[in-house]
Amino acid sequence: MLKTLRQIVAVGIATEPPPKAEESLRVRAALHEQILAVLGRALCIRHIDAGSCNGCELEIHALNNPLYNLEGLGVRFVASPRHADLLLVSGPVSKHMEVALRRTHEATPDPKLVVAVGDCACTGGIFGEGYASCGRVSNVIPVDVTVPGCPPSPTRLLEGILAAVARSSANSCTSSA
C-alpha cells in the first residue's frame, strides 16, 4: 500500500490542458441549441466499433489516460446507448454491423449527436465499399462531426468531441448560460 501511495505522489498530476473545439470538423449544424439546452456541460458517450481495424479504439482508450483525462472535462463513456448523448462511431460500417449500428442509434434518446472517427468512418478509408462493407458511417446513420486520421490522435478526437458539443461561434452570443 505504501508503495502504491508513494508512486501516486511521485507521479503527481499528469493531466494537460484540453485542446479547443475544432469547429471545422462539424459537418451538420442542425439541432445545436436544443442539444446544448438538454446536455449542458456533461456528456455521455457510447462508442460503437462498426467494423474498424481496432486502431481507432486504441486512441479512443487513450482519451481516458491521465494526460487527456476526458472524465475531468465532464465527458464519460457509458455502457448503454440508452444512457448516451453522443455516439462515437469508428470503422467502415461492415454489412454485418449495419443492423446493430442502426439499432444502437435508434436506442439512443433524442437529441443525440454522432461523431464519426477515423478515415474509414469518414470516407470508407482503405476498405471502401464492397460486398461486406457499407463504407462511411454517414451511409448508414446521420453524422454531425467527422474526425479524420488513421488513427486520429487523442487530441484530434477531443477536438472533434468538443466541436460536437461546443457552442459554435456563430450563435454563441445568443445562447444562454
Binding site: C53, N54, C56, E57, N64, Y131, A132
Partner: protein, 511 residues
C-alpha cells in the same frame, strides 16, 4: 511415409526462413497431416486460393521441428468435399468453415454452419471467386444455431455484438447456472469487411498498407509479414539497417500493447491505479514514437524494401531514454501488482487453460507461452535480425490470468532490453532498397511473431503488378476457442478479466 520424406519432396517457399511448400494428392493430404500432428506440429493457418478461372487449392501451413511447411491440395472441382483436419487440429474447424464461406470449398466436417458469413451475402455468392454479388439481395439478420445447454436452472446470457465498453464487436452466448458458466459459445464475423477480396483490387506494391490495417494493434507484425513475402518473391535483400529498424518497431509495438493490457487487467480486477499508471507509460511511448517516427502507432512505418523513414541519432537516444524510464517504472509497478492481495486473488486460478489442453487446442503466441507452449518464432524460426538478437524466451505453465499477466511483464522487460540493444547497435547504411513488382503467379509467405503470436501473410502475385490472392492470418484464430474453455467453471463477472487476459483480435480474425 514419415515426416522427413514429406520434407524431402518439398520445395523452398519464398519469404520467411526455413519455409517449404509441398503439393499433395487427395489421398496423401490426411496422412501427411497425421504425421505432422504426431510429430508435435502446430497448425498456423488454413486457407484456399483459386478464382473464377483457376481451380481451388486448399493450403495449410504448419510449424514443426523448427521448420515451416505449407501443404497444398489442388482440387479438381468445388463440388466434392476435401478431408477435414479438425479432429487432428481443432483450430482448423473454424478456418474450414471460413474457407467454405469465402471460397465455396467445403470440408468433410460435421459442423456445416457458416462462420464468417452472416447475412451480408447469400451462400451462392463466393466472395473470393465470383466477380460480383447478386444484386437486390436483402440484408437481414440470420438465425445462427447456437448449441443449447438444457437442464434445470440453466439460462442463457447473450452479449454483443455491441459491447459495453471500448471494444470490438462480437457475440458471446453464455449458458449458466447461477453465476457459474457451463458453456460459452462465441460468434464472430461482425467486422468482416472483405479484406482478402480488397487485396485483389490493389497493386502488390501497395498491399502492405492494407496488411497494416488487418488488426491495427499488430500493424508492424502484419506489414512486416507482407513485406517479407513480397521481398521473398522478388528476391529482394533488405539492408541490415532496415531489418534492425523493423525489429525495433516490432518490439515497440509489443511494449505498447503489453503496457495497455497490463493497465486494463489491473482495472478489470478493480485496481484503477494500474490503468492510470500503465496508460501514462503507454502515452509516453506513443509520444516518443511520434517524435522519432512521425506516428504514434506505426501504421505506415514499413514499406517494401525496408522502412519508410530512417532514425537519426538524436531520435534514437530520445527513444532510449523513454524506454529506460518505462522499464524502471514497470519494475516498480510489477512489485505493486505482485504484492497486491486483491489482484492476486482475482488473477490466480482464473480462466485456466492447462498445458495439455493448450497443446491439444494449438493455443499459440503469448497465451500459449502462459500455458506451457514454449514456442516463439523469434527463437524457433528467427528471421534477421533475431538470429543475432537472440531474445530470451518467456513462459509459464499455470495457464491462468496470473500466468498471462506474468508473461506480459517478462516480455515487456525483455522487449525493452532488445529495443535498447537495437538502438545501440543499429548498423549503418541505407534503410530501404527499391522493389519491383513480381511476375504473375509467383508465391511466397511471411511469418512474424507479433505481440499476440505468429502472424502469417501468404501472397500470390497477379498479372500487371496486381495481387491474385493474399491471406493474412492472425493468431487469434487459434486462441479464440481456448477462451471458450478457459471460462468454464468460472463466474460470469470474471469474464471481462479473463477475456482481457487473452486480448484477442476481432478484426484480425474476421477479415
Amino acid at each position: 511415409m514419415a515426416l522427413p520424406d514429406w520434407f524431402a519432396r518439398s520445395t523452398t517457399l519464398a519469404g520467411a526462413p526455413e519455409l517449404y511448400s509441398l503439393t499433395v494428392s487427395l489421398a496423401e493430404w490426411r496422412s501427411a497431416i497425421e504425421n505432422l500432428a504426431a510429430a508435435g506440429g502446430r497448425l498456423v493457418a488454413l486457407w484456399a486460393s483459386g478464382d473464377a478461372i483457376n481451380a481451388p487449392t486448399v493450403r495449410a501451413a504448419f510449424l514443426v521441428q523448427r521448420l515451416g511447411l505449407v501443404l497444398c491440395l489442388p482440387l479438381a472441382d468445388r463440388q466434392g468435399a476435401y478431408p477435414g483436419i479438425e479432429d487432428l487440429f481443432p483450430a482448423a474447424g473454424r478456418m474450414q468453415r471460413a474457407v467454405a464461406d469465402l471460397s465455396g470449398v467445403h470440408a468433410t466436417a460435421a459442423d456445416r454452419r457458416p462462420w464468417l458469413r452472416h447475412a451480408a451475402w447469400p451462400e451462392s455468392f463466393r466472395p473470393l471467386v465470383d466477380p460480383a454479388p447478386p444484386s437486390g439481395a436483402e440484408l437481414g439478420i440470420d438465425a445462427y444455431e447456437f448449441v443449447r445447454v438444457e437442464g434445470e436452472g440453466v439460462h442463457e446470457i447473450a452479449v454483443g455484438p455491441v459491447h459495453a465498453g471500448i471494444i470490438e464487436p462480437g457475440h458471446f452466448r453464455f449458458s449458466t447456472v447461477g453465476e457459474k458458466v457451463l458453456k460459452l459459445e462465441e460468434r464472430l464475423g461482425y467486422v468482416h469487411k472483405g479484406i482478402e477480396r480488397r487485396f485483389t483490387e490493389m497493386p502488390i506494391l501497395e498491399g502492405h498498407r492494407l496488411a497494416a490495417r488487418v488488426s491495427g494493434d499488430s500493424a508492424v507484425a502484419f506489414s512486416w509479414a507482407y513485406c517479407q513475402a513480397l521481398e521473398g518473391i522478388t528476391a529482394t535483400v533488405i539492408p541490415p539497417r532496415a531489418a534492425w529498424l523493423r525489429a525495433l518497431y516490432l518490439e515497440l509495438e509489443r511494449i505498447a500493447n503489453h503496457l495497455g493490457d497490463l493497465g486494463a487487467l489491473g482495472n478489470d480486477a478493480g485496481f484503477a491505479f494500474g490503468l492510470v499508471q500503465f496508460s501514462r507509460l503507454k502515452e509516453q511511448l506513443l509520444r516518443a514514437n511520434h517524435e522519432a517516427l512521425g506516428e504514434r502507432y506505426l501504421m505506415n512505418a514499413l514499406v517494401p524494401g525496408g522502412t519508410r523513414r530512417d532514425l537519426d541519432r538524436g531520435a534514437a537516444s530520445m527513444v532510449r531514454r523513454c524506454l529506460k524510464e518505462i522499464a524502471q517504472e514497470a519494475l516498480t509497478l510489477r512489485t505493486i501488482f505482485d504484492e497486491h492481495e486483491g489482484l492476486r486473488d482475482r488473477f490466480t486460478g482464473a480462466g485456466t487453460v492447462a498445458p495439455e489442453l493448450a497443446a491439444r487446442l494449438g493455443v499459440t503466441g503469448l497465451a500459449g507461452r502462459a500455458s506451457g507452449q514454449a514456442f516463439d518464432l523469434r527463437q524457433d524460426l528467427p528471421c534477421d535480425p533475431y538470429v543475432e538478437l537472440a531474445p530470451a524466451k518467456c513462459g509459464r505453465t499455470e495457464g491462468d490470468v496470473a500466468a498471462r499477466v506474468a508473461v506480459r511483464f517478462d516480455e515487456l522487460a525483455e522487449s525493452c532490453r532488445l529495443a535498447q540493444h537495437i538502438l545501440q547497435k543499429l548498423p549503418p547504411g541505407p534503410h530501404v532498397v527499391p522493389v519491383r513488382a513480381p511476375g504473375d503467379g509467383t508465391i511466397g509467405a511471411g511469418l512474424i511473431e507479433g505481440w499476440r503470436g505468429p502472424v502469417l501473410v501468404a501472397l500470390e502475385a497477379g498479372p500487371a503488378g496486381g495481387i491474385r490472392r493474399c491471406h493474412p492470418h492472425d493468431p487469434s484464430w487459434q486462441n479464440w476457442p481456448a477462451l471458450e474453455y478457459g471460462i468454464l467453471g468460472n463466474i460470469v463477472p470474471d469474464f471481462p478479466l479473463i477475456n482481457k487476459s487473452f486480448n484477442l483480435s476481432y478484426s484480425g480474425h474476421d477479415l
